[in-house]
């Protein structure tokens, strides 16, 4: 009897402690987040130009979003982008973290060098990549040299203005083609893939430091006993490192997904959705509608598109959590 009451008391104390620890966040959320979310939801059901009172519109804005071809194209583009970039950058980040974690003289310098792309502003990175991707740029030069070595010839590509899709190119390789109207079958365009490369280049180091911080926490005893059992470093990586990194992998994948789906700065800086709409992304459209960048302000329409996007991200995140967290050891 007494034991039970003290147990429930302990439970209660734990709950109170939890809410005390959470109070700064809860307070900030109450003031800055919840109101905004509800307001955005309210606005998505209205027509609103920011200055006059909103007019009720029902689900009209949502229907309009689903019917917009640009929005659907944006969705398909961002799906390709997210799929490829999240996978690649997570892989690259783990790779960089692992090779940097091993002791080697001067690794503090190497780490700093590796981190540099993440601190260089996206404007400068874009400027540099625009140079690299020029028809007369270094990437073409490089391909040209490589082609020369193998006795071939390289046709210079205008990387940032090449709408041909991956599958379209493959189809042409076997003598077919996919017509322009069937854009949804084209796959990511050459330009889009060029931007993916740039994105992986800049974000991988950020995720690398997240992995680095986690590697520290893997108990050395695990490796010690594994070595005694004669496990190779490759095996140790898969059997110890990766399972121990699972919470951080989830973090990186979830954050990566959210970041990718909401990406629009490179599009704004480099392509404005072109060529032929192959780099259109939903958030770029949300931005132009909500703020009336090239037409009347339609904040309700923008909010509706944003909620559709949020639901998609939510579903993805839910799946990722289920998939990765299921296997996580709970302490």
């Amino acid at each position: 009897m007494k034991k039970q009451s003290s147990l429930s008391e302990m439970k209660k104390r734990e709950e109170i402690a939890a809410y005390v620890f959470l109070s700064p966040y809860l307070l900030a959320t109450l003031v800055f987040t919840i109101g905004m979310l509800l307001f955005a939801l309210y606005i998505s059901l209205h027509d609103w130009n920011l200055f006059q009172s909103p007019e009720f519109a029902g689900v009209k804005n949502y229907i309009k979003a689903f019917r917009s071809e640009d929005f659907r194209r944006g969705f398909l583009n961002i799906a390709w982008y997210t799929l490829i970039v999240v996978f690649t950058q997570t892989f690259v980040a783990v790779f960089m973290a692992v090779i940097l974690f091993k002791p080697i003289p001067g690794k503090q310098f190497f780490r700093t060098f590796f981190y540099a792309p993440s601190v260089t502003s996206s404007v400068v990175i874009s400027m540099i990549f625009i140079w690299l991707y020029l028809k007369t740029g270094y990437i073409n030069l490089l391909f040209g040299k490589v082609a020369e070595i193998f006795g071939g010839e390289w046709q210079n590509v205008e990387w940032l203005n090449k709408p041909d899709g991956l599958f379209q190119l493959l189809a042409r390789g076997v003598g077919g083609d996919i017509e322009y109207g069937k854009w949804y079958l084209h796959g990511p365009s050459v330009t889009w893939m060029a931007i993916m490369v740039q994105a992986v280049y800049t974000t991988s180091p950020t995720f690398m430091i997240m992995f680095l911080a986690a590697l520290v926490n893997i108990p050395s005893s695990l490796y010690e006993s594994a070595s005694i059992d004669g496990a190779s470093s490759w095996k140790q990586f898969w059997k110890i490192t990766m399972p121990m990194l699972r919470p951080i992998t989830l973090l990186v994948v979830v954050l990566g997904t959210m970041g990718c789906i909401q990406m629009f700065d490179y599009v704004k800086l480099m392509t404005a959705g072109g060529p032929l709409g192959t780099t259109l992304v939903p958030v770029y459209q949300i931005y132009t509608e909500t703020l009336g960048i090239n037409g009347p302000i339609r904040a309700g329409y923008g909010a509706a598109m944003a909620f559709i996007l949020a639901v998609v991200i939510f579903a993805l995140t839910y799946i990722q959590r289920k998939f990765i967290e299921e296997k996580t050891e709970q302490y």
Binding site: L50, K64, I130, E158, N161, G295, P296
Partner: protein, 433 residues
């Protein structure tokens, strides 16, 4: 570790302390007022304004432009010594910030207005109607270049006064023509002359002939001169799938396919003005911004300008860009703000601005004040142009034109298909979809 954290905390608190002080401090008045230029106040009549008026002025622009407005404020203070003007330039995303400020009730009293802000603020009652104040100041709409006012007029009332304007000219490198051994362009050129010169230059020299990207603005002189337009005059339906527009596109595409027209990316430049600076193309359509740009980045490159060329029917047309100054309808000091706005766009102030070579004056009788010969040549083509405004969806219509051009440049569609699709999409936009 602990030491690092302590250090950070100490720093943070130090900063916090300084910041509190800094926060409470009232900003000093603008200093370094320039001497008033010799302009005499003939057309601007001083009228009574609120006592103790304090105005905030916001605009975009680099340090050159900021200096021009600081000087203009000084000139205004000679007439209204009691009005305090605080100049708060917004260095980027001007329109976004202005919209947020307007919604939050913290917008400046006087600010730049472009077509985007006119669309957002005009019909929603956020701008002060200026006509009655203009009457008091002795300024009439007819004092301005007529077409410039179209954007800022709603139901015949004036909500902004044009502060300057710009247009396109045929910008070229004389050295390229010398190298090819042909005569330099004149104001009498038409499409065929342009084609032939570009062909000779691209064949005989290392320069590309004519530079033009898939861009609605640079395409406008072609389409408009050929009798085309992007929308009807009521801005209710698109007019892109017309033979006038498509014939213009056909000529551009022919030049492109024949290799006498290139895009800036083809030759390794970010935009065609840069291609001129880097001496990569012989000709392109650019505007008055080239003067400062070339002086700043390529002071050693000699370039010239004439008017944009005529279509084969002998007609010349052009596109005009303009921005205005407007007054926040919610200002506490409407009279002072209106007086300031009317003064800034008045003959005497614009004469002083024109002397700096920074902007073209919005008064037709002041075009003679433009100093730079290239500016003069470009501006000369301006009065025959059309202001780039086709209603609230101007930006989206323009995007559709650019995309239509992109499709034909890339060969993804024929001209007929591409402009039919552009018209379909533009009409959907105009219908509010």
């Amino acid at each position: 570790m602990k030491r690092v954290l302590t250090l950070i905390m100490v720093l943070a608190f130090l900063c916090a302390g300084t910041a509190l002080f800094a926060n409470g401090k009232q900003e000093a008045e603008p200093s370094g007022l320039a001497e008033m230029t010799g302009a005499d106040a003939t057309s601007f009549t001083k009228f009574a304004v609120e006592e103790g008026a304090k105005l905030v002025l916001s605009g975009w622009g680099d340090q050159t432009e900021q200096k021009i407005y600081i000087d203009a404020i000084a000139r205004f203070k000679k007439i209204y010594p009691d009005v305090i003007v605080d100049y708060q330039p917004i260095p980027a995303d001007f329109q976004t910030k202005l919209k947020a400020m307007m919604a939050g009730g913290t917008a400046p009293d006087v600010f730049y207005v472009d077509d985007q802000l006119m669309t957002a603020f005009g019909s929603t009652g956020q701008l002060l109607q200026l006509d009655s104040y203009m009457a008091e100041a002795g300024v009439a709409r007819s004092h301005f270049i007529e077409s410039l006012l179209t954007i800022f007029t709603l139901d015949g009332d004036t909500y902004g006064l044009p502060k300057d304007w710009g247009t396109l000219g045929l910008v070229y490198l004389p050295e390229a023509f010398a190298a090819a051994g042909i005569a330099e362009p004149t104001d009498d050129w038409d499409w065929n002359d342009l084609y032939n010169a570009a062909k000779i230059i691209s064949e005989k020299t290392d320069y590309a002939g004519f530079g033009q990207n898939a861009d609605w603005a640079r395409f406008a002189p072609w389409a408009f001169a050929n009798g085309g337009s992007y929308t009807n005059t009521a801005f209710t339906s698109a007019t892109l799938n017309t033979s006038a527009v498509k014939k213009a596109a056909e000529f551009v595409l022919k030049m492109y396919n024949d290799g006498v027209l290139v895009t800036s990316a083809d030759v390794g430049a970010g935009w065609c003005g840069e291609a001129i600076g880097k001496e990569l193309v012989a000709m392109t359509y650019e505007g008055g911004w080239m003067v400062n740009y070339m002086r700043n980045d390529f002071p050693d490159v000699n370039w010239k300008a004439v008017q944009v060329v005529k279509a084969l029917n002998g007609v010349r047309s052009n596109v005009i860009f303009t921005n205005a100054l407007g007054v926040n309808a919610g200002t506490k000091y409407p009279r002072a703000a209106a007086a300031f706005t009317i003064f800034l766009t008045s003959r005497e102030n614009q004469a002083a601005v024109a002397e700096t070579g920074f902007a073209y004056p919005a008064h037709p009788d002041q075009l003679g004040l433009i100093q730079d010969p290239n500016d003069k040549a470009i501006a000369a083509g301006g009065l025959i142009g059309r202001v780039a405004y086709w209603g609230p969806n101007t930006g989206k219509i323009n995007d559709e034109v650019s995309r239509a051009l992109e499709r034909i440049y890339l060969g993804a569609m024929t001209i007929d298909e591409s402009f039919a699709e552009a018209e379909r999409k533009a009409n959907a936009i105009l219908a509010g979809e």
